[in-house]
């Protein structure tokens, strides 16, 4: 079973999102990037599959910036192989275009299963796994929290719905899966191990052309104007605790005898 895990980097929400307020354009070059947390979950589920059933795991990223560390980290965690798709791409590349490039590669490579994060914080034009599935015309399920191998090249999934309902699904490969969460928290690879891997293993580079596809001419980003915003309670912990007790009293929420 050959499993592809699609990874992407997204702006780090811990840092400020850099916006040109006048034009409404994001300043992609001025932001710092981190691996998308749902992709990290997808990688973990793929590595669990590898441990359980010997799946071969290939992590793939489109080179929209510095993705090497992300790929070396995937290797350090246990991926068998990593691929960087290069071209005239930058951090402003749309998900639609990334999904095009990724699906073209996946189609050529004879993978049985594609895992990726069910969503990312920057998915304005759609989620990578669903788009890839659509381009490949493969069955697809999102919000998946467990992937296991069944018999006869069948894959067993658990898909979640609101209210905590869960469906058990069986699907013949090939299939694309949008992972919400892995069965276990993602494993950690130390910086030292990532460095060591970076010295000993090479990233396979594959070049691709710029894909066409519907793009939205001018997306403008704005900071939300809050309809209502929290009234901030100032002061130290004691002052804040006193004030909250007062608020609870005002709302008849104290149950002190």
């Amino acid at each position: 079973m050959r499993v592809a895990v699609l990874l992407k980097a997204v702006p780090d929400l811990v840092e400020e999102l850099v916006l040109d307020e006048e034009s409404g354009s994001l300043q992609y070059d001025e932001m710092s990037y981190v691996p998308s947390e749902w992709d990290d979950q997808a990688l973990e589920e793929a590595l669990i599959l590898k441990e359980e059933s010997g799946a071969q795991v290939t992590a793939i990223a489109v080179s929209t910036g510095d993705v090497d560390t992300m790929l070396f980290t995937a290797l350090a965690k246990g991926a068998d192989h990593v691929v960087k798709i290069t071209g005239d791409f930058d951090a402003s590349m749309s998900n639609w275009q990334q999904a095009r490039v990724l699906s073209d590669y996946v189609r050529e490579q004879d993978f049985d299963m594609v895992l990726s994060g069910v969503q990312a914080i920057d998915d304005v034009d759609g989620q990578i796994p669903g788009l890839v599935a659509g381009f490949l015309n493969w069955p697809h399920a999102s919000v998946v929290t467990e992937v296991r191998m069944g018999g006869d090249s069948k894959v067993l999934l658990r898909q979640e719905y609101s209210g905590g309902l869960v469906a058990e699904i069986e699907v013949e490969s090939p299939v694309v899966i949008g992972v919400q969460a892995a069965r276990k928290p993602p494993r950690y690879a130390s910086v030292a191990k990532v460095r060591q891997v970076a010295k000993s293993v090479a990233i396979e580079e594959v070049s691709a052309g710029a894909p066409a596809g519907p793009a939205f001419a001018d997306i403008q980003f704005v900071r939300p104007v809050a309809a209502g915003r929290a009234e901030m309670i100032e002061g130290d912990v004691d002052a804040v605790a006193d004030r909250i007790v007062q608020i609870l009293a005002d709302h008849n929420l104290l149950r002190r005898a």
């Binding site: 929400l13 999102l17 916006l19 409404g24 994001l26 639609w96 699906s103 069910v118 969503q119 914080i121 920057d122 998915d123 304005v124 034009d125 759609g126 989620q127 796994p129 788009l131 599935a133 659509g134 490949l136 069955p139 697809h140 399920a141 919000v143 719905y161 609101s162 209210g163 905590g164 309902l165 869960v166 469906a167 058990e168 699904i169 699907v171 299939v175 969460a181 928290p185 596809g213 939205f216 001419a217 001018d218 997306i219 980003f221 704005v222 939300p224 915003r229 929290a230 009234e231 901030m232 309670i233 004691d238 605790a241 006193d242 909250i244 608020i247 709302h251 929420l253 149950r255 002190r256």
Partner: protein
């Protein structure tokens, strides 16, 4: 211009509010754009559920393969309906179904997709979609192309439409089969407590840092007469059971007090708690999205505040 197609979603208790919100908005837009509205529903009883929707036409796929929701089967039917009705807009609630069908349809039919939509605004016959991105920290204003688009709509975006319509009803059947099969649907495990019934929730997020700090939340909840709930990362880390999770893939709660501790307030979480009577947010980041939904906020450390508050409420 093609119609506005709404892909409806139902649960055991009927058509979801999110669907009704889409229906209401679709009717408003169809009127100004001079087009019609069509609702598509899946599953047994779809005709009965949809026949009162305030749309011009209902398309129901009820038979065999639609007995339970199967993402691939529903996608096959949707692809065909879209090919036949050529909608200008396809609106789908941004739930598991929306994440399945929205992107799948976009890829298969080469139609642009706008995800996490929280509003659709019309001006001079042109539609702009407003999309919540970067965990609610930014809004993207996306002009809907002239050929139309698919939008997946966040629940809670608009008032719910009324069920006072008398649409034309059409049923479809055909071979929508797929390599995907739903083996069974599992009801959620009943937890030790039902957080949807609690008046007071002390809800913890990533800010709890470690399971070792959970007793602080338990003690505070006990002192307040409430129970502990949480956001998704706490469940994913295995620190609290799934039954305690508030949000899109957890429970929707409406307590008298929601004390959000160390929760950033991603749209998926807000979806499950924004209707609480009183929301107090504790988060060291004053810019966190939870502050937009909260009535009161503080940036003191939750790990210091929880015991200080518990002590006062115990009368100590």
């Amino acid at each position: 211009m093609g119609p506005i197609l709404i892909v409806t979603e139902s649960t055991a208790s009927g058509i979801t509010d999110s669907t009704k919100e889409c229906v209401g908005k679709a009717k408003e837009l169809a009127k100004v754009l001079g087009t019609s509205t069509v609702a598509l529903g899946f599953g047994p009883g779809a005709v009965d559920r949809l026949r009162r929707l305030d749309v011009n036409k209902v398309i129901a796929a009820e038979d065999g393969e639609f007995a339970v929701y199967n993402p691939a089967v529903c996608e096959n039917a949707l692809v065909q309906v879209v090919a036949e009705t050529a909608p200008f807009l396809t609106m789908i609630p941004n739930t598991t179904m929306g994440l399945d069908l929205g992107a799948g349809l976009a890829g298969r039919n080469n139609i642009p997709l706008i995800a996490y939509c929280s509003d659709l605004q019309e001006q001079d016959g042109k539609i702009t979609a407003v999309s919540q991105v970067f965990a609610g920290k930014l809004l993207a204003r996306v002009p809907v192309p002239g050929d139309g688009a698919i939008v997946t709509v966040l629940p809670g975006s608009w008032p719910t439409g009324e069920e006072t319509g008398d649409p034309v009803v059409e049923t479809i059947s055909g071979d929508y089969s797929s390599r995907m099969r739903v083996i069974r649907v599992i009801e959620p495990e009943k937890g030790d407590v039902d957080i949807t019934k609690a008046d007071i929730l002390v809800s913890v997020g990533r800010g709890i840092e470690s399971p070792d700090n959970l007793p602080l939340a338990d003690e505070l909840a006990e002192a307040m007469g409430g129970v502990v709930s949480c956001s998704r990362p706490v469940v994913d880390a295995g620190w609290l059971p799934k039954a305690r999770q508030v949000g899109k893939s957890g429970q929707t709660v409406k307590p008298k007090l929601y004390l959000a501790c160390g929760i950033s307030g991603a749209p998926e979480h807000l979806q499950g708690m924004r209707d609480a009577d009183l929301i107090i947010a504790v988060n060291t980041d004053e810019e966190a999205s939870i502050m937009e939904a909260a009535h009161f906020g503080t940036t003191v450390d939750m790990l210091d505040l929880m015991p200080a508050l518990a002590e006062r409420l115990r009368g100590g």
